[in-house]
Symmetry: C2
Subunit: 334 residues, 2 copies
């Protein structure tokens, strides 16, 4: 039997928080170079494997919490008031409830995602990270970064990584309450590192990654080899980052992402997030690489590609992928 | 150190064969429902896992051997004389050399593949099976079916299965000389069983399956789980055939094929035989299935799909895939 989120939070939080007045926080989106795929605990979002990501600087979510003036909780997303039974609003309020306990103070939560729609990025990681940071500030909880990361993880696994900028490792942890399953920023920058956000398809009906990873764990025989591969890839990627070796990083990150997709494809029913346009773009990346341009791809639980390359090759990448706008090439270190 | 093909053949063949006069043999193409992927011995084409296929009745290769009238070996493919250094001609002559030893009798070998180009089927399985049968007849070797299958396997792994019609199991075997790695016909027919050959792409540059499977074995961590999955799938498929359970057969064959592709996708460099059109067709199959039509897909080391269904649903399948011609729907049991 899994420990509940509420039990964990109660253990680590001070008594009933005092009412707050105003808080605002920002958290970046992140793109995993070594993917999180599979949970050892579904309630607490504890992962089977460790993962590593790069945060996207100024692309992410900004969340503001104030006291509600209407006497009821209110949730805004991108300036629009969300209905009480809206799924986003319910998730936000359920998460806040974990922290405010019996406190009778309605709040107004406003979230703005500045992630370009064209990027095809999930916003739950930055969203839950920003919300956790704002909650910490609003209720004056004084939580350490480790605890902020662990609590954000309870909202969405990869939110644990969005607490930090730069290269971030999420330790899988071994504890039942998951408090050692939190992220850590790697103390390294890599100014030439670039990420291209390539939107190749939209509107495809998709299985959310939460149920996708469960289906994989339960039905794909090939998943058995994933945890060990992920552990090896994580170590290799850390070494590649330390050495600023883009080729080693790119190869390992690409094989890691494709192996994650391979476990989905081997599931039943088959889980194929790729659209025809995804495969066309994949072949284009490989053709460009065959021409000598060191560009690598990674993909998450969706049809879009993210390209990894060094600024030195930005012109060639732009030339081969003219659909990449300025906005869609991210320099994570500014 | 692997035993050579020649050593194995010499062990099981009578002394030097006598010159022959004329032989003709046909062997069907086959489509694996449980795939052969990975070798434990590259020289002898000994597989890591057992496999199971359905032969395609009258679709396949017909091979005729006669004494050459020119004093030199001659090889024809589909009525065209092949140059001596042509890769097809070299493979055929090298295979015949294994059996004729020092015999000084030039031969003329004529092979005709009646597999519709549109089907996107490999012809090496039926080709080497027909050649082995013709050699047995031409030199009057009197080989048993087991030996014919094992010798055909030395030409091309899946040729071991093309010795037989119907459902055929290729036992992986355990012997170093591979003589127990031969196929066996299952004693069962299934008149309503249908296969649709769906050509979705051509001309794509491809890695041949021989090197593809080597790359997978050597570079894909996920391949570690493949042999056990294949063993389980093989047992399930045999049960499904015995019970004439198309749903169980289709599900297992589809997951098996996609898992094989998953191991390729997880290789380095990535091995993706799929084209955009392949993925479009895969989604179409799944949409049709979501509408209640029990149709399943299988794919080999190429971009094309093969559809598995029961004759009861042939109208719906034809309606959803109008590109299927009569010729591209095979009724393996007539």
């Amino acid at each position: 039997m899994s420990i509940t989120k509420q039990t964990v939070i109660n253990t680590y939080l001070p008594d009933q928080p005092l009412p707050g007045t105003h808080a605002e926080a920002f958290a970046p989106s992140n793109i995993a170079l070594c993917k999180y795929w599979g949970k050892r605990d579904v309630e607490l979002n504890l992962p089977i494997n460790g993962s590593l990501s790069i945060s996207l600087g100024e692309l992410g979510s900004r969340t503001e919490i104030t006291e509600s003036e209407t006497g009821a909780d209110q949730v805004y997303l991108n300036h629009e008031l969300q209905a009480e039974d809206n799924s986003f609003a319910r998730k936000v309020i359920a998460f806040i409830n974990l922290f405010r306990g019996e406190l009778n103070q309605p709040v107004c939560v406003k979230t703005i995602n500045n992630i370009p729609t064209a990027a095809g990025l999930a916003s739950s990681a930055s969203g839950f990270a920003a919300l956790t940071l704002a909650i910490n500030d609003f209720y004056n909880l004084g939580l350490s970064d480790d605890k902020l990361s662990a609590f954000a993880r309870m909202g969405s696994g990869s939110a644990s990584r969005s607490i930090y900028q730069g290269f971030v490792e999420w330790h899988k942890g071994v504890r039942d309450d998951g408090m050692d399953s939190c992220a850590e920023r790697l103390d390294i920058t890599w100014p030439g590192f670039r990420i291209g956000l390539l939107k190749v398809a939209t509107g495809a009906k998709k299985v959310d990654s939460r149920s996708g990873m469960q289906r994989t764990v339960e039905s794909a025989d090939l998943y058995q080899s994933w945890p060990q591969q992920a552990a090896n890839d994580l170590a290799t990627i850390k070494r590649a980052i330390a050495d600023r070796d883009l080729e080693l990083l790119g190869q390992t990150a690409e094989q890691n992402a494709l192996s994650m997709h391979a476990t989905m494809i081997a599931s039943w029913p088959p889980l194929l997030y790729w659209q025809p346009e995804s495969v066309a773009a994949m072949h284009r990346v490989w053709e460009l690489r065959a021409l000598g341009v060191p560009v690598y791809l990674t993909m998450d639980a969706g049809p879009n590609l993210k390209l990894l390359f060094h600024s030195e090759y930005e012109a060639q990448v732009r030339n081969a992928f003219p659909e990449l706008l300025d906005l869609d090439i991210v320099a994570p270190f500014g």
